[in-house]
């Protein structure tokens, strides 16, 4: 039992380290390190320009999309090499947030289902960061129940074979910065919901697309609504057969779960540091036994996630597929961060209400955590969906009894009608 690299891994790591030392935008390092829980904290430069510049540099030297095949702009690296790259890239990795959905989900979906000529054209530009992609899945009427989506795709009545899209997507990250997207639609409302879906890729510059940012509960706008008003898509941009969209979307979602070792933030290091320094009437907060007890409970969650990640990386290192235990990451981290934020504010007493970074404790990081953390428990699979996944796929418990399973989509009752 050890945390050591194998000789091959060590050689790869030193190669990565040397290249990053010589090529990374070191002038941004300090600023990037201050990024809190996934938000890039870049102010001195335009974040998109900086992200694209770093990605292009990586692509030139063959360090973009390590896990992709070389012919599509990747490196053909092993999963463990991808993990090592991530560890060494460190704070610069936060620059890659703009490309996460493209590289992690859209790319692999295109690889599995797009026409070869499209793959040759689109994937290298996606890998190099020239073109940004988004994923158009969730809808107002289909979140956890993704297959309940209602955006329609109908054949154009001009004999062109094109498809006409009508409907609305929601919670689309980065839509406003995207050149392309992958889209799941309903092509047949007369069959049960999973059977009438079809996937496409399309240009986000297509006529009839309107993107509106969503003002979130915490006041920020990280997501969008995307409206489709008679948007035309050629049939050769269809991914998989008509009616097979559910199967295609599973390729995308399975790739989402493969990003191992990235480590969800729990907020614990920040809270620990805060409690060591925050002076109460009786000295540092960490002198208080009640505080230490709560800190310990958060500590073992953060540590448990960290070492669960180490176990997954060890499995990768041996060429194994990591087990489903990795599905616990977001479930634990999201809930932990929310409780932790409430605890940090409680320590601050009445002044915990202040969220102005210039006046609040710890530059208002815990107030920001408090207001952002409800989203973590919902996005990318709610806590409840994740518990269902653990219960069904890990523990082997029965799936829910589905009342809509054998019903034509158009006959399923919804809150909207």
């Amino acid at each position: 039992m050890n945390f050591d690299d194998t000789p091959e891994e060590a050689a790869f790591r030193s190669q990565v380290r040397a290249w990053i030392a010589a090529n990374a935008p070191t002038h941004l390092e300090a600023e990037l390190k201050q990024s809190s829980f996934g938000n890039m904290g870049l102010k001195s430069e335009d974040p998109i320009t900086a992200a694209k510049a770093w990605q292009a540099r990586k692509a030139e030297a063959g360090w973009a999309c390590l896990h992709w095949p070389k012919e599509y702009g990747g490196r053909g690296a092993t999963p463990i090499e991808r993990v090592i790259w991530g560890q060494e890239e460190g704070a610069y990795g936060t620059l890659g947030g703009l490309f996460t959905i493209g590289h992690g989900m859209c790319g692999p979906t295109l690889m599995a289902w797009a026409l070869e000529e499209h793959k040759r054209k689109l994937l290298p530009a996606m890998a190099s960061g020239d073109e940004v992609w988004c994923q158009l899945f969730s809808e107002p009427a289909g979140g956890s129940d993704l297959a309940g989506l209602r955006t329609k795709a109908e054949p154009a009545n001009d004999g062109s074979g094109d498809w006409i899209i009508q409907g609305q997507k929601i919670w689309t990250s980065g839509a406003q910065n995207s050149d392309y997207g992958i889209l799941i639609t309903r092509t047949d409302p007369n069959v049960p919901k999973h059977k009438g879906l079809t996937m496409f890729w399309l240009s986000m510059k297509s006529p009839g697309i309107e993107i509106r940012p969503i003002k979130q509960a915490n006041g920020q706008s990280g997501f969008n609504e995307v409206f489709f008003n008679e948007v035309r898509i050629p049939d050769n941009q269809r991914l998989g057969a008509v009616g097979e969209g559910w199967k295609v979307s599973l390729t995308t979602l399975m790739n989402e779960r493969l990003s191992i070792g990235s480590g969800m933030p729990t907020g614990f290091p920040e809270l620990f540091d805060y409690c060591l320094n925050f002076q109460t009437e009786d000295g540092p907060a960490a002198d208080d036994r009640m505080v230490r007890s709560r800190l310990a409970q958060f500590a073992v969650k953060a540590s448990g996630l960290r070492f669960t990640g180490m176990r997954a990386i060890s499995a990768l290192s041996k060429g194994e597929t990591p087990g489903p235990e990795n599905s616990i990451g977001k479930l634990v981290a999201g809930a932990s961060m929310q409780e932790l934020a409430m605890f940090a504010l409680d320590l601050q007493g009445q002044a915990g209400v202040i969220s102005d970074p210039d006046q609040a404790e710890a530059a208002a990081r815990f107030q920001a955590m408090l207001l952002r953390s409800p989203a973590t428990r919902v996005e990318g699979g709610t806590d409840e969906i994740l518990r269902n996944i653990i219960a069904e796929r890990v523990l082997g418990l029965p799936g829910d009894i589905r009342v809509d399973k054998d019903v034509a989509f158009k006959d399923i009752p919804t809150s909207g009608r």
């Binding site: 039992m1 230490r292 007890s293 073992v300 041996k318 653990i390 418990l397």
Partner: protein, 374 residues
């Protein structure tokens, strides 16, 4: 990176599991719960003969000299079956204390017997309710004679050797006391978990031989408890996993409202949370195992992390195993209460959860303050 047990260690796990499936069915645990015997002597002898008790004891002292990772593997299996044997007191504590602080003669006198299970040792620290600490020690040794009362002492009713914390002019020291000798009175205590016996030991001028240096007793105790915490964490993780499996199996088998109760989200989500707790605890226990086997400076933090996480997970899984079983879970006939008793007994065995939470943060703080090596 290989943050996992080796193939050989996994084979050992399979071997221990087969042995315990055969030799430690629930009926064996119940025999101790309901009968007069303090522990399962035949099972314990068997564990000794297989070399499981002596896994981390060097060959020169009668062990098999494998190491602590192997002992972690064995501990997890013992935890899965609620083994009614004195491993915590004799192997994780007494043998570790002897290996840390014993003279050659002391080690030669006791370790071979502990390794085979021929003798049982225990560590006697507490003297009553409240936190066990150096200042809570009132027992005294004068002129090589021990006077005082210790309770609760794990397996104190059956142990042959007690390692007792007691004062002398230089401070608290540890003392080897032959419990078959004069001046020792034992009384078995009624406890929440009779499958791991507890006793009150009264010493009235019992002959005592110092273990380690005078006044250094608590330093040794701290080290022993850290090592024992990691080994015990594996027992707790084993118990948590088994409790989860029982709950899962019952949720699949039990029908209500015309369907398996495991199809209700209320039940599924409870089981998912048990899985989460057990998984975090396992990963933290591995961290402890790594620190223990490498002698890392991280050991104090790793031990407290493993301990806090494992205690939480086993208690969580044991109580919700009963909940999943409903009324049947509260019957004497179902095994749920064996795990519930064991989980809550082990939660106190090396000092309570709040004590370890406190230790964890204190130690993380100290690590934070330590100068970074150049």
């Amino acid at each position: 990176m290989n943050f996992d047990f080796s193939d050989e260690q996994k084979q050992l796990r399979d071997q221990v599991r087969r042995f315990l499936t055969d030799r430690c069915p629930t009926s064996a645990v119940r025999a101790i719960l309901e009968g007069p015997e303090p522990y399962d002597r035949k099972l314990y002898q068997g564990l000794g003969e297989m070399g499981f008790l002596g896994a981390a004891i060097p060959e020169e002292y009668g062990g098999v000299g494998l190491g602590h990772l192997e002992l972690c593997v064995i501990a997890e299996e013992l935890g899965r079956v609620n083994a009614p044997v004195p491993v915590l007191s004799s192997i994780y504590q007494a043998a570790e204390a002897l290996m840390i602080a014993g003279t050659d003669a002391q080690k030669a006198a006791w370790l071979p017997k502990l390794a085979t299970g021929e003798a049982v040792g225990t560590l006697a620290l507490g003297e009553g309710p409240g936190k066990v600490s150096e200042t809570s020690v009132k027992a005294q040794v004068a002129g090589g004679k021990l006077t005082g009362v210790k309770l609760p002492v794990a397996d104190g009713d059956s142990a042959d050797l007690a390692i007792v914390a007691a004062r002398e002019p230089q401070g608290v020291s540890l003392w080897l006391v032959d419990l078959a000798g004069p001046g020792v009175t034992r009384e078995t205590l009624e406890t929440i978990d009779p499958t791991r016996s507890q006793a009150k030991l009264s010493f009235d001028g019992a002959p005592a031989e110092r273990l380690g240096e005078a006044g250094q007793g608590w330093r040794i105790v701290t080290d022993v408890l850290d090592r024992a915490a990691i080994l015990l964490a594996f027992e707790q993780v084993g118990g948590a996993d088994r409790a989860l499996e029982m709950a899962r199996d019952y949720a699949l088998e039990r029908m209500a409202f015309g369907r398996q109760i495991g199809s209700f989200q209320a039940v599924k989500h409870m089981l998912a949370d048990m899985y989460v707790a057990a998984t975090l605890a396992r990963s933290n226990a591995y961290y402890g195992a790594w620190a223990l086997s490498t002698g890392s400076a991280e050991l104090p933090v790793a031990a407290a992390t493993a301990r806090v996480s494992a205690t939480q997970a086993f208690q969580h899984c044991a109580k919700n195993n009963i909940q999943t079983h409903g009324g049947m879970g509260f019957t004497w006939a179902f095994d749920c209460h064996l795990f519930y008793r064991r989980a809550n007994g082990l939660a106190l065995a090396l000092g309570s959860q709040s004590t370890w939470e406190d230790l964890l943060i204190e130690r993380m703080r100290r690590r934070n303050d330590a100068p970074v090596a150049a």
